[in-house]
């Protein structure tokens, strides 16, 4: 039998515990964070319960339905256009007054709405007692108590939602916000005016449309123009008359007056339903902030946290990294001995395992980094970081909130760029998107570890740190430059909630961390696997190369010669074999491409191998290491294990510490990987900005590397 399906949308303020309730209902994995607006994507989950197929949609967390930010537009459009059967508004009971603003807006939308008073236990502990029956009566809406983080009240919530969806009674027209007399007069006049001029099937509630038009809502104005074509001019002219009238009557724009009045209406409700109200938050959260955003120690602690995050990522991560590395070696040794020599074996060992293997060993680092970022988000510290950093970010021409995407950029640019959706102003968003790739992502780290570890062994940490700092400096310069040229104009308001600190739930942290690391693993299985195979093919073909000499013959000569000792023979043969491999790599397709573009890289001290590796880095930055591995495999000795072999190969190559530094700077700044470019394209919605980002970063990279290399030569470094 086919079960009836019901669509339920979850709406609510950021930090209202909406995502936790969504997870509890659907069991789906999804981010839970404290950073305002962390749920940017529309998330869905399906569950069969009580004889129904329930489709749950987690709307972005918003404070209102006025279409300012992308989240608000997404949330409102969903309710308007997709008409879900029920909208559950998750209300943070400890923050009732502000939460009711969204609630009244939803109430005006003419959809079936149900309130979930979440975290009432927290409210209660603060001395707030809520009369839910009274609230239900006053707004004529079912009200249910829930405690999301303890999974309480969810069954009741769903049952009430189903009951509401199945009820056939019309939505009560009463008990909505009532405005002052002048505004109500304008609304009803406008209502009649619109009703006479639009089609029967006009999709929106007329009263709501009239209210939104009085508020000068751009999206509704646009809809009016679309839906009632020739009549629209008439309607909009009438709206203008009313707006002018109200403006002169109140000496404020109507939308301001109406927002004010909505809060006045809410204040009336609050008076009736709340018993004792504590004005200030006297709790642990405030005490924590006495320390964490303290005038003197706030910044040192912040820097300490960031330092701990990176230190743990790279030191604690190095142990499992070694285990993974030996695991990869073990696998390739087993396969090397057990498989018969063939083309496929070559592909598997030197292409797939060498390529993917050299990247998968960085999984522990990435897991740890994302774990820390998840802690910052889930506890609420991220908002404090923005609070501390806003002044500095503002100097660069950015918003404190831009700090979060930029910090995440150290992990991976893809989620970082996606996180810019929390920024309300489009200018801020695009600027942040352009800057974020300069935050050295975790995929670039293997390259630094390899190069710095090889050429600056004792000072590797300092060198890597300086590279990161260089990235930050370039982002600052870029920010200032663009702010004063391409993005002139007013800044977006910095209005940000500082949510109470919450103990992170381990389950949610792990889901959070895993979700992001999954992206990395997916890249491994997809882009990086394909990239490794392509790189290997370009190196392995053409199969028959015109060698400068007949190596086999030479080897035979040495073997049969009697004028060498056994030891000398072995050394000479190894040398010949290495030369053969080197020549093979040089004459492969890859070598030819590298040599063709090498002149471009010559001024920055990068040879053809480096050029090839950089080219392959377009697929994914991690591949630069594996490409170098494959390209320098020419010099691999059998006694040592994989990472050291590459180090030794690099040391014995023509690469100098200076050219290694130049290479690192280039890697830091040059064009983002394919996945990032795709994300930039999607998030800016503009091909122009995408191309601009590619060209700008690559030219900056070349210029910076040129300065490092040529400058270094001038001052006598090598």
């Amino acid at each position: 039998m086919h079960k009836k399906s019901i669509t339920i949308a979850l709406a609510g303020n950021p930090n209202s515990g909406k995502t936790t309730i969504f997870n509890n209902i659907t069991g789906t994995r999804q981010k839970v964070g404290n950073w305002p607006g962390v749920t940017v994507e529309k998330k869905e989950g399906s569950v069969s319960k009580y004889g129904y197929d329930l489709k749950i949609i987690d709307l972005p967390g918003t404070y209102s339905l006025t279409p300012f930010s992308i989240e608000e537009i997404v949330a409102r459009n969903f309710v308007l256009e997709e008409s879900p059967d029920v909208v559950i508004d998750i209300i943070d009971a400890s923050n009732l007054e502000r939460s009711l603003y969204l609630a009244t807006q939803l109430r005006e939308l003419d959809c079936k709405v149900l309130f979930a008073l979440n975290m009432a236990d927290v409210a209660f502990s603060r001395g707030i007692k809520i009369n839910a029956d009274k609230l239900s009566e006053l707004l004529d809406v079912p009200v249910v108590f829930t405690t999301g983080n303890k999974n309480k009240g969810i069954t009741n919530l769903l049952k009430t939602a189903i009951k509401l969806a199945e009820s056939t009674s019309n939505i009560s027209p009463k008990r909505k916000v009532k405005y002052s007399k002048d505004i109500e007069t304008s609304i009803s006049k406008l209502q009649n005016f619109i009703k006479e001029r639009v089609e029967q099937n006009f999709p929106y509630n007329i009263r709501w449309t009239a209210i939104k038009l009085l508020e000068n809502d751009k999206i509704v104005r646009k809809r009016i123009r679309q839906k009632s074509e020739n009549k629209s001019r008439e309607i909009l002219r009438e709206v203008e008359t009313h707006r002018k009238h109200l403006s002169s009557r109140f000496d404020e724009e109507p939308e301001i007056v109406m927002t004010d009045e909505r809060y006045g209406f809410i204040a009336g409700i609050i008076k009736e339903i709340i018993k004792t109200s504590t004005k200030r938050r006297i709790d642990t959260s405030r005490n924590i902030d006495l320390v964490l955003t303290n005038r003197f120690i706030g910044f040192p602690i912040f820097i300490l946290f960031i330092w701990i995050m990176f230190q743990t990522t790279f030191t604690a991560g190095s142990y499992p990294m070694e285990w993974l590395s030996s695991g990869v070696n073990w696998l390739s040794t087993i396969l090397a001995t057990s498989l018969p020599d063939s083309f496929l074996k070559d592909l598997l060992l030197n292409g797939i395992i060498a390529g993917v293997g050299s990247v998968i060993i960085f999984l522990p680092n990435i897991l740890i980094l994302f774990f820390f970022i998840a802690i910052f988000e889930d506890t609420g510290y991220m908002a404090r970081a923005a609070f501390l950093m806003d002044k500095i970010m503002h100097l660069i021409g950015l918003h404190g909130k831009s700090f979060i995407p930029m910090l995440m950029g150290f992990g991976c640019s893809v989620p970082a760029i996606m996180a810019t959706r929390t920024l309300e102003s489009n200018k801020d968003r695009i600027l942040t998107i352009l800057i974020t790739p300069f935050m050295s992502c975790s995929a670039k780290l293997p390259i630094y570890i390899l190069l710095a570890g090889t050429f600056f062994s004792a000072r590797a940490g300092t060198v890597i740190f300086s590279i990161y700092i260089t990235g930050i400096v370039f982002s600052i310069i870029t920010g200032r430059l663009f702010r004063s040229t391409l993005f002139k104009g007013a800044d977006a308001p910095f209005v940000m909630e500082l949510p109470p600190y919450r103990a992170p739930m381990i389950k949610s942290l792990i889901i959070h961390m895993w979700d992001r690391s999954k992206m990395f693993l997916k890249k491994m299985g997809g882009i990086i696997l394909v990239g490794s195979i392509i790189v290997w093919m370009l190196t392995a073909f053409p199969r028959n190369i015109n060698y400068s000499m007949n190596y086999n013959e030479e080897i035979n000569k040495i073997n049969t010669s009697s004028s060498f000792t056994e030891k000398q023979k072995k050394a000479a043969i190894t040398k010949l074999k290495l030369n053969e491999k080197a020549e093979k790599a040089e004459k492969s397709f890859m070598g030819r491409i590298g040599k063709t573009i090498a002149p471009v890289f010559a001024p920055i001290g990068i040879d053809w191998r480096g050029s090839v590796a950089l080219l392959t880095g377009f697929v994914a930055k991690e591949i630069v290491v594996s490409s170098l591995g494959i390209l320098y495999a020419a010099d691999e000795t059998e006694e040592t294990d994989e990472p050291d072999a590459l180090k030794n190969a690099l040391l014995s190559s023509e690469m100098t510490p200076l050219s290694a530094l130049s290479l690192m700077v280039f890697v830091l700044l040059y064009l983002p990987c394919v996945a990032t470019i795709a994300t930039i394209r999607r998030e800016t919605g503009s091909l122009k900005w995408t191309l601009f980002s590619i060209v700008y970063s690559t030219s900056i990279a070349w210029a910076a590397a040129f300065c490092v290399y040529q400058g270094g030569k001038v001052v006598g470094l090598s």
Partner: protein, 76 residues
């Protein structure tokens, strides 16, 4: 006086909210409406932004934005 002139630990009642359209409305929507009591919790270490308590929750505004809000200081 202006909200931006208030010191840490001061309480005020909002008299008027000014500023350009989007900011004005956003500030109002977050509950900084006329007649509301507002408490200055603290200034950020770099003196900007300000942390405020309004309607029982914490919010931060830039000093420049707070300068659009006129308050009556409540003497404790």
């Amino acid at each position: 006086m202006l909200l931006s002139e208030m010191k840490e630990g001061h309480t005020g009642i909002i008299v008027r909210v000014g500023g350009n359209g989007a900011l004005h409305r956003r500030v109002l929507e977050m509950g900084l409406t006329r007649g509301s009591e507002i408490y200055v919790e603290k200034y950020a270490p770099l003196k900007d932004p300000i942390e405020l308590i309004i309607k029982g929750y914490h919010i931060s505004l830039r000093v420049k934005e707070a300068a659009n809000i006129t308050v009556d200081k409540v003497t404790p």
